[in-house]
Symmetry: C2
Subunit: 436 residues, 2 copies
């Protein structure tokens, strides 16, 4: 019993769009057998009609305006691969859903900023809205959270969601190089943009974490609720100290359930070397889910690249061809809880602290006292370069502290007091720890 | 638009069945919202009605005969958790499908031996047949291969699919203990059965690999096509040599496409320490998929246990509630290719060889010559305990060789010649290597 062909329209024929086009063509027979429905690209929209794309696009209907394509009678499914949270991508996706056409997109910014409204529209029109490619490229993490772990209560999800940052941190650790040097290298290799802000300051990770948080915990999608820090402040000294203490430093997106609230954060994180995430190097992405039934599940794979992203786009198209119906955000929008946020000041965990302490008698004792006043205790204290010939106040000694579980506000108060005491020469470096 | 409730009948209320029962009950609201359909267990079948199961089963319809449950008007979906490739499990699953009822099972033996016939029946009756729990417990590997990677051509799938073996090998490596000692320990901890044959001789892994091979390559399910070896022959000396060479030893199920044929094998395997699989210790399972679009994707999680297995069973039930329709084996049974098998003699790869060489002059040179005659060359040669005072023919010297890529039959021929030459005191130990 073969259904009518599924006619696909693709807006955006860049690296990913070209891969999707070629892959749907090359896998057409297998996809038809897998889904019970012939899947065929009938129409496209892109800026440059003449650009080489590795296959003949002459027979396809060509639309100059992606919004016209989105609502065209020529297509049954609209694939948005233009990018951008506003403008044509948003207008075209809205138009397609409004017309009751299912949409597949790789656009994390669009989802992170307008996911709730788009999901609501998709539900109202009984049209699918699929976005596997928007998080962690070729890793099927959306499907895993939405379907594979449907019987679980998720407790925490954390991941390496930005290949640029993981590449830079991996190189800094391996070579002892500075952030700046590794950024330049990453830019030369095409792993980082000319303006790297979006990646290295954590915003890209935050977009993806916002989506994962909603899928994992059934709360409203709200990127504003996340605490966001990037990796610019990480130094070779931090990576060396982490190594000595048995940790690695990764830019993680972390979201965990704390009572009725969600603690959502993007920041450089110390993770024990024995964890699966610590062992993920280079541009590779990885996500670990902690949940009541599976306990711990980790997925490791490519987070970007045309072919890997196309893999996720084609899987979404195949699911729609199969007739899979799920609420886009896992639960119906009306069933998503308000995103009650745990402020980062209330976050509880271990902390790594690197201080540049003036080499005066009693300095370390005074610092320890400031911590003890707030009941902060230490797993380890490493004074890495002890003075050779007695204290010298013009010298600065690096001191590394690792705390046991403590509330972040108590730690910040203690460090403010340490700064006010005048024993340290630079502002403290603080890196949060996730112990599993 | 809420559909009618999905009435579930469960046959088998052991560890997994009890977990499924409790989990469906605890997650009922969330599952209803996720799937758009209320999911409710209405009937069960188990041996002992009085056994405590952590919740009241008094209100459920109780069937003494699982086959009667399978076709009962009281249920819309049959969950088979009795186990066994023959007998009541098989008869009940056939009866449910014959009656057009969807089936969820965790029964790898049933699938491995009768998967083709059952899938054919399911297709003919337009009834779902889902078995996520049959491979790698809580890891959603069936969903990933069948749906998540639908747009990929899979080249290789390999995994740690048996927690018992991985536990034993991890302990042997960490403690330098023998296979026998670690097996006893695993039995004491409940990780191994009193009769461990099914696990340690590779049959359990083979059942799972047979299923993965069909899903990955679209070939007929055929457990007879697999080459199967277990881990009884592995010694602390092999683990120590592996460590020195930068490898770990894991019992892997490996299936790879070689031209139009499939090379499917279960055996102890040396994997570089840097790979994701090498880093998986204890009873944890893991699967790595190599495919044209995602390149490399690894999933790590719990391979057994009531809750983890129940997670997979509940996900299958939720998919059926959502109305997901897929061919049980990925492709329709009629579209599955014949399983053209690459005989293990034609397998190509690297090999680790440990020889107990009599300490006579020229022995190693003679062995190397036997290899060279067949164009076998070496990545490394380690003679680990060189004699102290010149050769002594009553001594036996362990020699470890690691070959470059070679055809297995050539290697076996060379080793036969080495044995015939009389230079070695024991039969050679041979372990295949997977270099990524």
């Amino acid at each position: 019993m073969m259904l009518a062909p599924l006619r696909v329209g693709i807006a955006g024929l860049g690296t990913v769009g070209g891969s999707v086009l070629r892959r749907l063509h090359a896998q057409r027979t297998a996809l038809g057998q897998r889904t019970g429905r012939d899947i065929v690209v009938t129409a496209v929209s892109a800026r440059d009609r003449a650009k080489p794309r590795g296959m003949d696009v002459g027979a396809l209907h060509w639309f100059d305006d992606p919004v016209v394509l989105a609502t065209s009678d020529q297509i049954d499914l609209f694939v948005e691969l233009m990018g951008g949270s506003e403008g044509p991508a948003k207008v075209a996706v809205e138009a397609a859903l409004q017309a009751g056409k299912p949409v597949v997109t790789a656009n994390k910014a669009l989802l992170a900023h307008h996911g709730m409204a788009l999901a609501e529209l998709a539900e109202a029109k009984h049209a699918a809205l699929a976005f596997e490619a928007s998080v962690a490229g070729g890793i099927p993490i959306v499907k895993t959270l939405r379907e594979g772990l449907a019987g679980n209560q998720v407790e925490r999800v954390q991941g390496i969601l930005n290949g640029t940052c993981n590449y830079i941190l991996t190189r800094m650790e391996a070579e002892g190089l500075s952030f700046g040097d590794c950024l330049v290298e990453a830019q030369r290799l095409g792993y980082a943009e000319a303006d790297p802000t979006f990646d290295v300051d954590g915003f890209d990770t935050a977009h993806k974490l916002a989506i994962l948080t909603t899928l994992a915990f059934g709360v409203a999608l709200d990127i504003e609720a996340l605490h966001i820090e990037g990796i610019r402040s990480i130094t070779p000294a931090d990576l060396a100290a982490a190594d000595e203490l048995g940790y690695r430093i990764k830019l993680l997106g972390v979201a965990q359930r704390v009572g009725a609230r969600v603690d959502g954060r993007v920041h450089p994180t110390m993770v024990p070397k024995s964890t699966a995430l610590a062992q993920v190097g280079g541009v590779t992405n990885a996500v670990t889910i902690f949940a009541d039934a599976v306990r711990e599940l980790t997925l490791i794979g490519p987070g970007a690249g045309g072919e890997a992203t196309a893999s996720a786009v084609v899987a979404d198209i195949a699911d729609i061809a199969r007739g899979i119906r799920s609420a886009p955000l896992g639960l119906p929008v009306t069933a998503l809880g308000a995103a009650a946020t745990l402020p980062v000041s209330e976050h509880e965990g271990g902390f790594y602290i690197r201080l540049s302490v003036r080499d005066t008698p009693g300095a370390v004792a005074a610092i320890a006292a400031r911590m003890a006043e707030r009941s902060i205790s230490f797993e380890s204290i490493v004074q890495r370069h002890p003075p050779r010939h007695g204290p010298d106040p013009s010298d600065v000694v690096p001191v590394v502290l690792v705390t046991y579980r403590t509330v972040e506000s108590a730690l910040r108060d203690a460090l403010d007091a340490v700064v006010a005491d005048g024993y340290i020469a630079e502002l403290p470096q603080v890196i949060r720890i996730e112990r599993e």
